[in-house]
Symmetry: C2
Subunit: 115 residues, 2 copies
């Protein structure tokens, strides 16, 4: 049975970065909006904002900047810090599957075929 | 802020292996008992048995063998499959921190000092 999903969570003290936050950051970069990014993940507006606020407070600088109002009705984008967090997290995920391919294959071979 | 915990979950279809199951397998190997291993993790007897049953059904062969009764009051131990699963999982965790040290350091440097 092949690997279908790998989930990596990193804790730095109280600050956690995992698949949900990484996906939200990607969504914000793509959608230009916190609420649209949350919606694309089936996440409430409130929850998406809470996660952004947690990240903005937990990193050395805000990861997302948002603008309210204006002709375009406001929007949001990743800061340099936000982009760096996302890039490092995705790179780490890639390392796991590259560097750990032998261990992942060993586990896959041990999983029942009908699992 | 240094990395304080890394959590790795792997999904192979419906079968998931993560820190809880790995710790339970280690506990069984150490304690020689499913209930004692669960207790050491603050886990109920029922929950520990459920996890063992899930693993026994989800891998190509049982990961834990238990004996009931007898002079020693029964006990449990890891099978060869159980030991192989545990070894591969722990090796994969080690790979992440080794091969991903640059990415982990990059994230650590981005986390607020008081996080």
């Amino acid at each position: 049975m092949d690997l279908t999903r790998l989930m990596l969570r990193l804790y730095f003290g109280e600050m956690m970065i995992g698949p949900g936050k990484a996906q939200l950051l990607e969504g914000i970069a793509r959608e230009g909006s916190i609420s649209a990014a949350g919606r694309a993940m089936g996440m409430s507006y409130k929850r998406a904002w809470q996660l952004v606020e947690t990240m903005n407070a937990g990193f050395v600088a805000p990861v997302v900047e948002s603008t309210r109002g204006g002709a375009q009705g406001g929007g949001a984008h990743l800061t340099e810090t936000g982009q760096a967090v996302l890039t490092a997290y995705r790179a780490l995920e890639a390392r796991v599957t590259e560097a750990g391919s032998a261990e992942i294959a060993a586990l896959a071979a041990l999983v029942a075929k009908d699992a």
